[in-house]
């Protein structure tokens, strides 16, 4: 698995790569999306979370928004996020969020990094029950089903 780090908007305008290169830098799937996706094959019961098999991960910095992150803590499936981050090469996120958030910036930074800065560019999302792989190409997961899965 390869991992690359990209800096955020401050440097963007100075490092203007050719358009085709830039498009590739942009493409990604982040764990905020992974936290919503489940297997939609007919009849499957154990459909979430999808296991991540990464081939290419990019770390891309985005602006830190602590208020948004605090709102998100209750809405996220925490285990899916921790496991997803770990599978993408980031094991720092604690197994449970802390009980008091107010002064814990270091935790919020790890949460921010896991949820919004780890980008799966190439790989698969695997159904926990059937093992069916949904491929991720150029950062876009393909959740389209075959005829017999509908």
């Amino acid at each position: 698995m390869s991992i690359r780090v990209l800096k955020s908007s401050a440097t963007k305008t100075h490092l203007r790569l050719p358009r085709c290169e830039r498009a590739r830098e942009r493409e990604k799937m982040r764990l905020i999306v992974h936290n919503m996706l489940s297997c939609n094959i007919r009849g499957v019961v154990n459909k979430f979370p999808l296991r991540i098999e990464p081939e290419k991960v990019i770390v891309k910095e985005v602006d830190f928004n602590p208020d948004f992150l605090k709102h998100m803590i209750a809405k996220i499936d925490w285990k899916a996020l921790v496991d997803g981050a770990r599978s993408m090469g980031y094991p720092e996120l604690p197994d449970h969020p802390p009980t008091t958030l107010e002064s814990d910036e270091s935790f919020l930074r790890k949460f921010h990094h896991s949820l919004l800065e780890l980008n799966l560019e190439e790989g698969s999302l695997v159904c926990p029950e059937t093992g069916r792989k949904f491929s991720v190409n150029k950062g876009i997961p393909n959740m389209l089903l075959h005829e017999d899965e509908v």
Partner: protein, 208 residues
């Protein structure tokens, strides 16, 4: 950001190069897109710092508008890989973050309460009958706060009834009536341009 500025930025986006008639691929013009998202944020606070999903995002016009209005996270869903490629390039040009998922909206199973707002310009159901209702049903299952959608004015009563009775809507309101000017995109279009009356709807789902 001012409305005019938003409209200007959206006007620069690339649109469908080979639109697929069976998917009812029509670009959402910058005039409608900017007003739709501007209203969603200024009147209801449904965009800035929220998680916004764009169902049937096509080339990503509504997604781009949401991102430009500082949504915390924008996710565009579409079935067509070529559109998603164009949408990715558009996001790149505007230097905004948008995640994309390729899927059939009507078969999608999204878990949890992460999405606050769904915005969409769904198919009207002229090619695949009932497509507009399928999109609305899907959106109402996913959004925790609000759904903004465009539907033909001629379907107004039908939509209102279905939303309130079948799709778990607490409220269903037409925010305004717009003229959607469709350029001659497909061979079967006889007139050079045609104006369709569409309603901009806001639906609020009941809390589960």
């Amino acid at each position: 950001m001012k409305l005019k500025q938003l409209e200007g930025l959206l006007g620069d986006l690339e649109q469908f190069s080979n639109p697929k008639v069976e998917l009812e691929q029509y670009p959402t013009g910058p005039h409608i897109a900017s007003r739709m998202l501007f209203t969603a944020e200024n009147s209801y606070g449904d965009i800035t710092d929220k998680v916004v999903a764009d169902f049937g995002c096509g080339c990503g016009t509504l997604s781009a508008a949401a991102a430009l209005l500082d949504a915390a996270s924008v996710i565009g869903f579409d079935i067509d890989p070529q559109s998603l490629e164009t949408a990715t390039l558009n996001a790149e040009e505007l230097e905004v973050e948008i995640d994309f998922v390729q899927c059939d909206i009507t078969k999608l199973e999204l878990k949890g309460q992460i999405v606050n707002t769904v915005v969409m310009n769904p198919p009207f159901g002229t090619r695949k009958k009932g497509a507009d209702m399928e999109f609305l049903s899907a959106a109402m299952k996913v959004a925790s706060d609000a759904v903004y959608s465009l539907h033909k004015t001629s379907t107004r009563e039908h939509i209102k009834r279905a939303a309130l009775r079948d799709f778990n809507a607490k409220s269903a309101e037409v925010l305004c009536e717009l003229r959607y000017d469709l350029p001659k995109l497909y061979k079967f279009h006889k007139r050079k341009e045609v104006d369709i009356a569409v309603d901009l709807w806001r639906f609020e789902p009941r809390q589960n």
